[in-house]
């Protein structure tokens, strides 16, 4: 059974061919390849895989979106910001990495003191 990775992924370190990073588009041949499709990191690459995952197109789309979020290490409290495209991940200092829909917060107008 075959599936095709949708994003670059690491491989088990003891893999026979010694490659640790598999690029997006890599074909995975494995008896449980459909599980990678169900998780959302791959798409079917043969008929057997396409008939084994048992999910609708909507469910697959949701799984793919959720997997990208999971792989980026997004914490549940930031799911909404990630889903809205406000952030794509975290910088090493913990601040969110701005996403395509990020909007710079407006500085509040400072009230001028009354001259009385």
């Amino acid at each position: 059974m075959k599936c095709k990775l949708l994003l670059a992924m690491n491989r088990t370190p003891d893999a026979a061919d010694g490659r640790s990073l598999l690029p997006a588009g890599e074909i995975i041949e494995h008896p449980d390849a459909f599980r990678l499709v169900q998780i959302g990191c791959a798409e079917p690459a043969d008929d057997e895989c396409a008939t084994s995952h048992g999910m609708t197109a909507e469910q697959l789309a949701a799984a793919r979106h959720a997997y990208v979020r999971t792989a980026a290490g997004i914490w549940p409290e930031d799911f909404a910001a990630f889903d809205a495209g406000m952030m794509t991940g975290y910088s090493p200092d913990g601040s969110p990495i701005p996403g395509p829909n990020y909007v710079e917060p407006q500085e509040e107008d400072e009230e001028e003191p009354d001259d009385e």
């Binding site: 599980r35 997997y67 999971t70 913990g94």
Partner: protein
């Protein structure tokens, strides 16, 4: 030296020889590793302290964690609980959120899972991974 944040840390589980991120993890307890020792006290030991000597072996211990559990999610239902219905060794990786994305890679020989259903909380699961050997610490 740096103070490494925890947000962005990812636990990965091997599925079909590919390391896949485990969804909705809230917290992780790193493996509680310990070097093995034996007590080598003797009757003629005049010191009050009890001496110990390392055996040269180390116990990998257990790694554990908590997640928001989705019983319908494939990654939880099939991949995690699958280790209970079909016990097998599994390679896990913790990817830290430091600048170099340091990794700890270890083989899990055993797996346990439980959870909590509470009115005031989301559905949560707790899991534990019994290590076989020690983790490999990436440099």
């Amino acid at each position: 030296m740096a103070f490494v944040i925890c947000k962005g840390t990812v636990l990965k589980q091997t599925i079909s020889n590919v390391l896949t991120a485990v969804a909705q993890v809230i917290s992780l307890d790193l493996p509680d590793m310990e070097s093995e020792t034996f007590e080598n006290d003797t009757l003629d030991n005049s010191s009050a302290g009890i001496p110990h000597t390392p055996t040269g072996r180390s116990e990998g211990g257990k790694a554990s964690g908590e997640l928001f559990f989705d019983p319908a999610l494939t990654g939880h239902k099939t991949s995690l609980l699958g280790l209970l219905t079909t016990p097998a060794t599994c390679v896990w990786v913790i990817v830290f959120a430091d600048t170099g994305h340091t990794t700890w890679t270890f083989t899990g020989a055993g797996f346990s899972f439980g959870g909590t259903v509470s009115l005031k909380e989301g559905l949560k699961g707790k899991f534990s991974i019994k290590l076989s050997g020690l983790p490999t610490f990436s440099s």
